[in-house]
């Protein structure tokens, strides 16, 4: 079995669950002996811009990250020169491109001669198509049995490679436009998602929540859509409850960790914080992450009069994530729509009890969590106060949750994926 996988960023350069999932799944497939050509977009420096950081994160480290993955035995990495990144919007994409051009202009006084070499499209949608062309050219020199594409930006590439190669296409839906944008969907993105889902031979959804959206919103027949839950990399607490006894501190910490965007419900978190503080005082609310609602969240905290009780850390990665988990007494994920939600699993893995929104895929797999409707601010606050006030609650959520999370292994997700590849292959020759 050889897979042409159109994936995303690898640790430590992770901006969200998509990268974590691609990494976990690929690693587990590799261990199962599945051969993978892993294709990901990387903005490569041109010869004229060697001292210009065209696109963050730092390229050198990105290369190192890929070299570091030598521990993979069956995976070959191929990078395609493109500035695409997960969680971009067209506006943020254009801003990045303009920034790079401005940098080049500042260095060389003009841009005309570079535009040709830069070669990126100033428009994200066109760039997605250009990426598809690059992928097709790359695929011509690769051998594989099945194509596996992760999230919408790679669907056109997956579809194009499938068309040229005649190999079956499996697309993996980690989120949909409805999760990210509510009812204000971007028509262009929706159309790309819909096209990808319709041409795919098999669709992998990260939860039944997502599967339902795929069926009801994209008009896909249910027998084509399989659910494969994400796993969790065990790197936190090793199950020894005394291992990281909380530092004696006067203040309890309630943590929000995720992109600060509409989808993640930061405003519900803050309103619940306000209610909690009416009851108990010795608690701080930490919002770890960045996103397009960051400024609004800061203003909202000030507006609610709880500015001094809410800390914004910005985007955290690697050890900092571990550190914040070690400090936290409780993790809250009030997502408006969460296809899966890997972060709460990491919290459990680090012995932090969790409150999760019922509108999440992870609530389908975790029983030992407190569950709330994202809009029910009173109930979120009620449950936060309960965890902070009734010690047996935290103790039980921690011990049972930590145990439960161990059942979610990437190796199980990988074997399900492998089975789906086989079904797609069998279906393609019928």
């Amino acid at each position: 079995m050889k897979v042409f996988m159109l994936g995303w960023e690898f640790p430590p350069f992770i901006s969200g669950g998509l990268g974590t999932a691609c990494y976990g799944l690929t690693k587990a497939l590799d261990q199962m002996g599945v051969e993978i050509t892993f294709v990901l977009p990387t903005a490569v420096q041109t010869k004229f811009a060697t001292h210009v950081k065209l696109v963050t994160p730092a390229l050198k480290s990105q290369e190192q990250a890929i070299t570091r993955t030598r521990k993979f035995r069956n995976v070959a990495f191929r990078t395609l020169n493109s500035p695409l990144q997960p969680y971009q919007t067209n506006i943020s994409y254009q801003k990045k491109i303009e920034e790079s051009l401005a940098q080049i202009r500042a260095l060389h006084g003009h841009t005309d001669q570079f535009l040709g070499t830069l070669d990126y499209s100033g428009d994200m949608y066109k760039e997605v198509q250009r990426y598809a062309d690059l992928a097709v050219r790359l695929a011509e020199n690769e051998e594989f049995d099945v194509i596996h594409a992760h999230d919408w930006m790679t669907y056109p590439a997956g579809a194009a490679v499938a068309k040229v190669s005649g190999k079956p296409l499996v697309i993996h839906v980690h989120s949909t436009e409805f999760d990210r944008s509510g009812e204000h969907v971007n028509q262009m993105i929706y159309d790309i998602e819909r096209m990808g889902m319709h041409v795919a031979d098999k669709i992998i959804a990260v939860s039944y929540l997502t599967r339902n959206i795929i069926i009801s919103r994209y008009g896909i027949s249910g027998d084509k859509v399989e659910v494969v839950y994400n796993g969790v990399e065990r790197n936190g607490n090793n199950g020894w409850p005394g291992g990281n006894a909380p530092i004696n501190k006067d203040e309890r910490i309630v943590l929000f960790l995720g992109r600060i965007t509409m989808q993640k419900g930061p405003d519900y978190f803050l309103r619940a914080a306000k209610k909690v503080l009416e009851r108990i005082d010795n608690v701080k609310f930490v919002m770890a992450g960045s996103g397009d609602m960051m400024h609004r969240a800061v203003e909202m905290a000030a507006g609610l009069g709880i500015g001094s009780k809410v800390l914004f850390t910005g985007f955290l990665r690697g050890d900092d994530v571990q550190k914040i988990f070690k400090m936290a007494d409780l993790y809250v994920m009030p997502s408006v729509s969460e296809p899966f939600g890997i972060a709460p699993l990491e919290a459990l893995d680090n012995d932090v009890p969790i409150i999760i929104s019922k509108q999440s895929g992870v609530s389908e797999v975790i029983n030992h969590a407190l569950k709330v409707d994202f809009w029910d601010v009173d109930e979120i606050a009620n449950k936060i106060v309960a965890v902070l006030s009734y010690p047996p609650l935290g103790i039980m959520l921690r011990s049972h949750g930590n145990y439960e999370v161990r059942k979610l292994r990437w190796s199980d997700s990988a074997s399900k994926c492998k089975k789906i590849y086989e079904e797609a292959l069998a279906g393609a020759f019928v």
Binding site: E278, N367, H368, E379, N382, A386, S389, P392, L393, I395
Partner: protein, 404 residues
């Protein structure tokens, strides 16, 4: 001789309403939901089952007999939401073929936490049964058939009971059979009746299980099993929830038809009859002494207390509740005391059980909460409010001038 002894447990808890830490009022119980469930169960189970029992008693001229243990929390609800059920129980009481047993009024675990409270709840239940049905209970059954030597000794010392009922658990019986009357260790007069859990569970749990080798269970087949006891036992104690009829086993499983035909089939064997627990205790001499040093119950395979007290939340909640006893009783305020007592019902702690939670078990059907965590939070929020009311009462009770 094989005497069939039916005893049905009839109980509904007073379910708590959703109560957040921000609520500040003393309406703790979900009247709407309790009324709805009470009426539903009345229509599906209590009314049709009572009618059936009444028919059978008449049909067999008083030879068919049964016993009930009806909790105080249910009797209160029936009075409010389904008084017609009380009339049919009263009609059953008047036949002389129905015995009513005593238990803790609030279906509580008080024996384990407060002997005073335990005795008070038994007395309250006995008085209620006397008032409603005109008979004084002579048989005691403890909540969830929780039992040990100490309990039997305490019940004997109360002086008003002839026998006590418990689970015929394998680990207390050993090679012995539940089909005899026994003496509890340390007791002189009190008799011990043990549930025949195999035959009881054939009806209560396995009746509609199509995966069971004996399915479908007919009255004829079941009577055959009962008759086999002749020669190596005197009694077959069939103890089960009354809700078996129509609620746990739905009407379309044929459970009512099974019961309708059962007495006729039992009587086909000339040595068989039906007896109430009191008649059993009088009719047969104890075969030996049963020693139960550790607490047992009728729950699950473990037959222990883990369904109510097995985890940290359960034990925390119940300890906090009983810690209030002295303070709450010293207020003399009946509203406070009644609220406190209704919170003692074992169901509240059962809802917090995490034993089967991960497997998504059938027990969920009878649980008003989405998760054991939610039920614990709700209980503790209400307990917090109760505590506040008690403290307030005590502050007001001591006027400022009293110090001087």
């Amino acid at each position: 001789m094989a005497s069939v002894c039916f005893y049905f447990q009839v109980h509904q808890p007073s379910r708590l309403r959703h109560y957040t830490v921000f609520d500040d009022h003393d309406y703790y119980f979900d009247d709407h939901k309790n009324g709805e469930i009470c009426r539903k169960v009345a229509n599906k189970c209590y009314l049709p089952a009572n009618r059936l029992m009444l028919d059978l008693i008449r049909q067999y001229d008083g030879k068919f007999k049964v016993a009930y243990s009806i909790t105080g929390t249910l009797l209160e609800q029936l009075e409010n939401y389904a008084p017609e059920v009380l009339s049919t129980f009263d009609a059953l009481a008047r036949t002389g073929c129905v015995e009513f047993l005593a238990e803790t009024y609030y279906h509580s675990l008080s024996f384990l936490y407060s002997r005073n409270e335990f005795a008070a709840q038994i007395n309250k239940h006995v008085q209620t049964i006397e008032k409603l049905f005109g008979q004084t209970p002579k048989i005691f059954r403890n909540t969830e058939l929780i039992y040990n030597n100490e309990l039997a000794q305490m019940i004997e010392s109360m002086g008003c009971f002839d026998a006590i009922i418990s689970e015929g658990a394998d680990h207390i019986l050993g090679y012995r059979s539940p089909n005899f009357v026994y003496s509890p260790k340390g007791c002189n007069r009190l008799r011990l009746l043990l549930k025949n859990y195999r035959l009881s569970d054939d009806i209560a749990f396995r009746f509609s299980n199509r995966g069971w080798a004996q399915w479908p269970l007919t009255a004829d087949k079941f009577s055959h099993w009962v008759s086999k006891v002749n020669g190596n036992g005197f009694i077959v104690n069939l103890f089960m929830d009354y809700e078996t009829f129509g609620e746990h086993q739905w009407k379309d499983t044929g459970i009512f038809e099974f019961m309708r035909h059962l007495p006729g089939e039992i009587f086909k064997h000339p040595d068989n009859d039906f007896k109430t627990p009191s008649e059993v205790a009088k009719a047969y001499q104890p075969l030996g002494v049963i020693d139960v040093p550790h607490v047992i119950s009728w729950a699950d395979i473990e037959r222990d207390l883990s369904a109510w007290l097995g985890n940290a939340m359960q034990s925390n909640a119940i300890h906090e509740l009983y810690r209030l006893e002295r303070k709450i009783k010293s207020t003399g305020d009946n509203n406070l005391i009644n609220d406190w007592r209704k919170m003692q019902t074992s169901d509240h702690f059962y809802y917090m059980c995490t034993k089967w939670f991960s497997d998504g078990d059938v027990h969920k059907y009878f649980n008003p909460y989405d998760s054991p965590y939610d039920s614990y939070i709700n209980f503790m929020n209400i307990l917090g409010n109760l505590q506040k009311r008690v403290d307030k009462h005590h502050q007001q009770a001591v006027p400022a001038g009293a110090v001087a």
